[in-house]
């Protein structure tokens, strides 16, 4: 089962073309839903870069989303920046935060790193609530009204494409293979001359940029943010579940996971609002028990597909 590159590329072009035209024909609800899917692809794909490839599970990845959201919102609301530039600044802020946090925390072994990241998110949320002058504290931060949903749709879509393309480039490179050796056997990787710490740090930085930009875009789109809306643990958990469902360490796993779970979530949310959290828990348990590699990981193993699916 091998598809020629030409077939794959034309298929991709077709899908992207349809998505580009969609805002002109779709309903308001449909466009907003797609925008959400793009956001989740960017978030899940970014989480996959650090956690899927190196095996260092980040339980606080929403921290980068929140940091980007506040950076972007403050720059727009207080400094009067235009939102696209503020969104880029959100990505930069998230990367700087990753550098600051990664330096001490990536020296920790797996489970300790996971817990440290969880703590980071709580600390950030507390800090944002505390510095009321800048952030509005618990009252939140309102942005000047602006209807830019269609423009944000394209930028968020571009972000999802960029994260996925970056994942492809990394996975097919020796840099990507080296990241995987950290997951496979960190001690052997070190003994073979792979500077595991700096590789983890690089992956961590790359994995922070996407959520940072996505956070700033979301802040602009919603026009209002508060600490509990941009630093919830639920966002991290959702990213993780999406990647685990689709297939960690693959290119298309996060895309598949984001799309599939978003659709499932929308359906269940509309019909049975109260069992919605139950559903996520059930999916986690089912995935871990039945297909720990996720859908694509399973296919990959069964049909000997390349890692680049």
């Amino acid at each position: 089962m091998r598809l020629s590159p030409a077939v794959v590329l034309s298929g991709l072009a077709l899908v992207l073309g349809a998505l580009a035209l969609y805002p002109f024909v779709g309903t308001g609800y449909g466009v907003r839903a797609m925008l959400q899917v793009f956001m989740w692809i960017a978030l899940a794909g970014s989480w996959n870069l650090i956690s899927g490839l190196t095996g260092y599970v980040s339980f606080g990845h929403v921290a980068f989303f929140g940091a980007g959201a506040y950076t972007g919102a403050i720059l727009v609301a207080s400094a009067g920046w235009s939102w696209p530039v503020a969104a880029l600044a959100g990505g930069v802020a998230a990367a700087l935060l990753a550098l600051l946090i990664g330096y001490p925390c990536l020296r920790l072994k797996g489970p300790y790193f996971a817990i440290a990241m969880l703590g980071l998110n709580e600390v950030l949320r507390a800090l944002v609530s505390y510095f009321e002058g800048l952030t509005g504290g618990g009252n939140g931060l309102s942005l000047p009204t602006l209807d830019a949903t269609r423009a944000i749709y394209y930028v968020m879509g571009g972000l999802a494409v960029a994260v996925t393309a970056m994942t492809y480039a990394i996975i097919t490179s020796r840099f990507g293979l080296r990241l995987m050796t950290i997951r496979e056997d960190e001690i052997a990787a070190e003994a073979m001359g792979i500077d595991t710490f700096h590789h983890k740090l690089a992956a961590f930085l790359l994995s922070a940029v996407g959520p940072g930009i996505a956070g700033a875009l979301t802040a602009r789109d919603q026009g209002y943010i508060e600490p509990i809306s941009v630093f919830p643990l639920a966002i991290t958990v959702t990213m993780i579940v999406m990647v685990l469902f689709g297939g960690k360490g693959t290119v298309w796993g996060p895309v598949l996971g984001a799309a599939a779970l978003f659709v499932i979530q929308e359906i269940v949310w509309a019909r049975y609002p109260y069992v919605h959290p139950l559903l996520f828990g059930a999916i986690i348990v089912a995935v871990v028990l039945l297909m720990p590699r996720g859908v694509l990981g399973l296919l990959q193993l069964k049909y000997r597909l390349p890692r680049t699916i």
Binding site: R174, R183, I187, A189, E190, A191, M192, G193
Partner: protein, 233 residues
């Protein structure tokens, strides 16, 4: 001049002294053996040399530079390669990727070299198989050639013969001799005395963390302290 000089290296874990002030010196282009009963500190000494364990006292010099205190990857980059007693291939990377991943420089060359080495250990047909799916012996060979990909000046082999069949073993030993002829230095831990006798010019014997003997294998085998360490008094 010694390529590697281990000088009074000590390492304890809690109250257990694993390596107790061991000194050894390795000359370039020779094969050395490191033997001793189980638990005598052979693997710990390997770990002290390669930076996987931080030493408590002493010095490790490689090509006249102190390497104790460096991270394992820094030690490896200076030209020390090793294999592990318990195989440590990267199971979800293919055999070829296992070799590629440790290389730098242009990828096509690295890939060609990797395929050559796999051919050398007769694994070329399994190049694209996940290393985790290979047999124990095959994984061992992948690990062995992976070390060669980094072009190390000093190679530490932890029980290269264990679990490898005879025919393959002979090829492997011939390869080790050839590495020596290329000017590389080899230090190997081995329980198979035939291998040690046939290959090593000098043997170090450890017992309870102490170096109790050093010399040509023939003399070592007759050494009373060595016999005592292995068989008891």
């Amino acid at each position: 001049m010694a390529v590697l000089a281990v000088d009074g290296v000590k390492k304890s874990f809690g109250g257990v002294t694993a390596v107790n002030g061991v000194s050894i010196a390795l000359e370039a282009g020779r094969i050395y053996g490191l033997i001793g009963p189980n638990g005598s500190g052979k693997t710990t000494l390997f770990n002290c040399i390669t930076g996987l364990e931080r030493i408590d006292a002493g010095r490790v010099r490689f090509k006249d530079e102190r390497i104790d205190g460096l991270r394992p990857s820094q030690v490896a980059r200076r030209g020390i390669g090793r294999t592990f007693q318990m195989i440590r291939v990267f199971p979800e990377l293919t055999a070829l990727e296992n070799l590629l991943v440790v290389t730098r420089g242009p990828r096509p060359q690295a890939e060609r070299r990797g395929r050559e080495l796999l051919q050398f250990v007769k694994l070329e047909r399994l190049a694209d198989e996940y290393a985790g799916n290979l047999s124990y012996g095959q994984q061992k060979l992948v690990e062995f050639v992976r070390v060669l990909m980094t072009d190390p000046a000093l190679i530490l082999l932890d029980e290269p013969a264990a679990g490898v069949n005879r025919t393959l073993l002979n090829d492997l030993l011939a390869a080790v001799a050839r590495l020596r002829d290329e000017g590389r230095t080899i230090l190997l831990v081995e329980h198979d005395m035939k291998v040690v006798m046939g290959l090593c010019e000098t043997v170090f014997v450890l017992d309870h963390g102490d170096k109790i003997a050093e010399g040509p294998p023939g003399i070592i085998q007759a050494d009373e302290r060595v016999i005592e360490a292995y068989f008891g008094r």
